[in-house]
Amino acid sequence: MLRKGFAIAALGLAFIGSPTLAATTQEEPKAVHWSFEGPLGKFDQAQLQRGYKVYREVCSACHSMNLMSFRNLGQKGGPFYDPEFKNPNDNPYVKSIAKDYQIDDIDSETGDVVKRPGTSADKFPNPFPNEAAARASNGGALPPDLSDMAKAREGGPAYIYSILTGYEEAPKGMTVPSGKQYNPYMPGDMSGFWSLDPNKVPVGGFIAMPPPLAPDKVSFDDGTKSTVEQQAKDVTAFLTWASDPKTEERKSFGLAAMIYLLIFSGLLYASYRRIWANIAH
């Protein structure tokens, strides 16, 4: 009977879990294997370091990451975590990264707006002073904040990777508005831009971001070959980590909790069987 309960619950969840179809269409994200998949998956620290470099040298020119501080880079599970410095604020590498940035501050004596070198407590600086400036520099489109990117998009890491590597020449018969790119992995509705057979409208949408990556655009310190796929994969791993920096702590806590609950359930079942042993029911 319990089995049936689970079957019903699973059925219910299957309904709920089925992808909700929108009026927009898009290509299924590419299947990629990630080291952080599954209950036991962990982030590859070298990959996170490369990914941070891609973010820093490419993405951060336009995209903010308002929820991230430099100290996060040195916390447990982060790209520059060093077991010698449990407190990420003391991590010398993180400090040196932060110092490279000039942060807006107010001089406590004069009240003037000044620039000072960053500290590990500072947030990643925003490339634009405000939203209007960000739009003005990007043809009217606002580059989204990347802090939560892997949580905030259906498909998560696979979606990010697919967008970054999925730029295509627009098919013949499609009018691409100026300042836009066609990307089949971007959700969109192409029917208004399609001049051929209306039953064969291509899937995908327009994206304002030009293809950001190119071979050897970022040189990796560990000698990894800098292909577009590699850069995309690494920056996706970094963004996935940044979206939920406590992932590894969560999974290891969860594993212990599940094992404990399993044993607990077993003990309770044994106790239950004994207590009910002489009751006919």
Binding site: E109, A121, Y260, F264, S271, A277
Partner: protein, 184 residues
């Protein structure tokens, strides 16, 4: 009453079952339940401790050149006032003179500043009585005076008179250069 000896409730027994073994399961299950509650209690308690962003701001750097001789600057550190006092020679001398006076919390002036930096006194600016902020230069000893309950501190921040039990606390700090300190 009081007859809860192990196995004294025969109606719960199945034939030939060892009562000790039967009770063990129930005890183990109960202990496991308490363990689960206890295990979950810690995260629920620990969440009230300072969060990572609060800890990140736990140290401040300060440029001493902003403090005039004979003055003090108050900055906020960990949500509390921090006194950074640039002492005059006279104030230092009076603090040293009293090193062996009848002190409630005996400490020499040398123990309260960094070696060779007698002119700089860095103190946590909360009265050790009940946490008010003492006023600069007040009181009978020229150090600080707490307006709440009348504690007098000398120019070394030692308690001399009034209800406070301890000297003004000295935080952990280091000189990064001649004119720069890092507190925390």
């Amino acid at each position: 009453m009081a007859s809860t000896v192990v196995g004294a409730t025969p109606e719960h027994h199945t034939g030939g079952e060892d009562p000790n073994r039967r009770d063990f399961i129930h005890i183990a299950a109960t202990v496991a339940a308490l363990g689960a509650v206890g295990g979950l209690a810690w995260p629920f308690i620990d969440q009230m401790n300072p969060a990572a962003d609060t800890l990140a701001l736990a140290s401040v750097e300060f440029d001493l050149s902003k403090v005039e001789l004979g003055q003090q600057v108050v900055i906020k550190w960990r949500g509390k006032p921090l006194f950074i006092r640039h002492r005059t020679g006279k104030e230092i001398a009076s603090a040293i003179k009293d090193n062996h006076a009848d002190l409630r919390d005996p400490q020499t002036d040398e123990e309260r500043h960094k070696a060779g930096k007698a002119e700089w006194l860095v103190l946590i600016g909360t009265c050790t009585h009940l946490g008010c902020v003492p006023t600069f230069g007040g009181g009978d000893y020229g150090g600080w005076f707490c307006p709440c309950h009348g504690s007098h501190y000398d120019t070394s921040g030692r308690i001399r008179k009034g209800p406070a039990p301890k000297n003004l606390a000295v935080p952990d700090y280091t000189f990064l250069s001649d004119s720069k300190v890092k507190v925390g």
